[in-house]
């Protein structure tokens, strides 16, 4: 059989398959259009893609479902890029929170429009136009009014209570969707302090905490863990789970975990879609299951290259 062609990089992609919340693409209400913008991801502190609906009324998050070796047929066309984007509603408070925390370090009440400012991400100030932003600021900050002017100061206590409610809501959704929250997947990398039985509620709590932690800084994630009464998990290899934030880590970036070990471990638990070399050799040799053993060694069987 002819040699397989090497993959060429897909450099000029100009179309995307998207599943978007209806509210994000409502056409009636406004005569302006939604924008894809880059904002500071509160968890990674780096740029991530978001969407602001027409008139900046609502914030949306953009996530991509992406697996290798996929393409689309769209009507009578092929789209090589096989990603599926999800545009889902996002709470703007998560993105406002890091700015509030930063300014809160000074301990002063400040006007939010001066707090939520980021030269690197000019679109940040548009977050304050979202309907929910100003009306829900009290979840993360204390407010003061002087005349017609409003000032705010970050409150960790309020924030943790707010996040706890988020966690509780998330647990309800996890249960409703029957999402598997057991610790099985993590059991080889983490050592649990408690035994596996009667831990289901804790599993949900921990899982939901993990999800919410995708939207907050590591410091806050740890504080929330404590607030929820959950002990920190210990890594089997190190005393800390793989360090998540560069903010906290003053170690050089290469140091720390050996991710190849993670990889193989994780893959062993996934249903093996890709066969191992050994499986493949076996499969190639005999499909009918009726060949004598000698055929395993027959020259016709293509030897697996080492």
């Amino acid at each position: 059989m002819a040699a397989k062609k090497k993959r060429t990089p897909n450099t000029h992609n100009d179309s995307w398959v998207v599943i978007a919340a209806d509210s994000a693409v409502e056409t009636q209400k406004h005569d302006c259009d939604p924008d894809f913008v880059k904002l500071r991801n509160p968890s990674t502190d780096e740029a991530s893609l978001y969407m602001l609906s027409a008139g900046d009324v609502q914030l949306y998050e953009v996530k991509a479902f992406e697996e290798d070796f996929h393409s689309w047929f769209v009507g009578q066309t092929v789209q090589r890029d096989g990603k599926l984007l999800f545009v889902t509603r996002m709470d703007p408070l998560y993105l406002i929170l890091p700015y509030m925390i930063k300014s809160g370090q000074e301990g002063k009440f400040q006007p939010v429009d001066q707090v939520v400012k980021d030269d690197e991400f000019p679109a940040s100030s548009r977050l304050l136009s979202c309907t929910r932003s100003l009306t829900s600021l009290h979840h993360i900050a204390e407010g003061k009014e002087v005349g017609s002017l409003k000032f705010h100061r970050y409150s960790q206590e309020r924030t943790l209570n707010w996040l706890q409610k988020k966690v509780e809501r998330t647990i309800v959704a996890l249960k409703k969707k029957h999402i598997c929250v057991g610790e099985g997947v993590k059991s080889t990398t983490y050592v649990r302090v408690k035994t596996e039985s009667d831990n289901q509620e804790e599993d949900y709590l921990r899982y939901a905490h993990g999800l919410i932690s995708e939207y907050i800084s590591e410091e806050l994630s740890k504080a929330l863990l404590k607030h929820l009464g959950l002990p920190e998990l210990k890594s089997a290899k190190e005393t800390e789970p793989p360090s998540k934030k560069r903010k906290l880590s003053d170690k050089p970036v290469e140091a720390g975990e050996d991710y190849t070990k993670f990889n193989s471990g994780d893959f062993a638990r996934k249903p093996p879609k890709k066969m191992t070399a050994a499986q493949k050799t076996l499969a190639k040799v005999d499909k009918s299951g009726m060949k004598p053993m000698s055929s395993f060694f027959s020259p016709k069987t293509k030897a697996e290259k080492k």
Binding site: E66, K244, Y259, F262, A283, S288
Partner: protein, 305 residues
């Protein structure tokens, strides 16, 4: 020979059979196995069995069935007619393996080679005869692969039956010739009246013998090459002729189990994609572990559109 069943769905495998002659259920019988259309890049491969009482061997010989390859199409049709007229003591059965079934089997993740496919089909047909009550005592087979090994395999599978596997069995044993004629006639008819499942309008059916070295076949393969889909299901994609043409003229397609893209790349790929679960940045300069809700669902944040 009613091909309607196969023509209704020519993407899979289909068995056609004559009525079982009563005498075959009471008397010791011999049975021949042969195939038609192993080599062509187009159309199905047909496996055939033909059987009759051992006592009627001479009568079968008198029908002058000879190796189907030495006959032209009209002669084969004529001989098939004669076999049909001898239905009081001659029975037959066919297994039509569609080109789509051949392609998808040979190109399967767990590759299913043509010899294994042939052997399994022959075995199925012999079993069919047994299940139908035919008193089999002798089986003659035109070989696929080394005759000795195949003969041993069949003898073990069908104890109590005298199995003879020979190269060119179709010219040595009339019952194999008869099987060969049945198979070839079916293959010719199916190819001639191929019902294209694709919606391609009027299709030129001047595709020659279907053998890769036939200029007409080559011309047809060039004419009906689609840059995305390759070919209609009439073509065996697993044939190197088809592969080579697609490699040079159609869009490259990569699967996760491709030798080069997949296996070798898979490891790198796995490493990369697994790493990406742990690191938000593609550069991998920073370890960021994504919650398993997202990694299990292959969901990740984007940096730009």
């Amino acid at each position: 020979m009613d091909l309607k069943q196969f023509e209704a769905d020519n993407s899979g495998s289909c068995r056609l059979a004559s009525r079982i002659p009563d005498v075959c259920r009471t008397e010791d019988c011999c049975l021949g196995v042969d195939e038609a259309g192993r080599g062509p890049v187009l159309g199905p491969m047909v496996y055939g069995i033909c059987f009759c009482p051992v006592s009627k061997k001479e009568e079968l010989k008198d029908l002058k069935v000879a190796d189907s390859k030495t006959l032209n199409e009209a002669e084969r049709e004529n001989l098939f007619q004669k076999l049909d007229e001898a239905q009081s003591y001659v029975g037959w059965a066919l297994q039509i393996l569609s080109p789509n079934m051949i392609s998808t089997s040979m190109l399967q993740r767990t590759k299913y080679n043509l010899n294994a496919l042939s052997h399994d089909t022959a075995i199925c047909l012999i079993q069919y005869a047994l299940d139908s009550g035919v008193q089999l005592k002798e089986v003659y087979v035109d070989t696929v692969g080394p005759a000795e090994k195949y003969e041993k395999k069949l003898s073990q599978l069908f104890p109590g039956i005298q199995v003879t596997v020979r190269p060119k069995a179709d010219s040595l044993f009339p019952v194999v010739s008869a099987a060969s004629i049945c198979a070839k006639v079916a293959r010719d008819r199916v190819v001639k009246g191929w019902n294209f499942a694709e919606d391609l309008g009027e299709i030129d059916t001047d595709y020659g013998s279907g053998y890769p070295n036939d200029p007409k076949t080559k011309e047809w393969l060039l004419k009906y090459l689609d840059p995305v889909f390759g070919y209609p299901q009439f073509v065996r994609f697993s044939w190197s002729t088809a592969q080579t043409l697609m490699d040079s003229k159609a869009a490259p397609v990569h699967w996760d189990d491709d030798e080069e893209d997949g296996e070798k790349a898979a490891q790198q790929q796995n490493n990369r994609s697994m790493l990406s679960y742990f690191s938000a940045s593609a550069e991998g300069d920073r370890a960021q572990q994504t919650h398993r809700f997202f990694s299990e669902r292959r969901l990740k944040s984007l940096k730009s559109l």
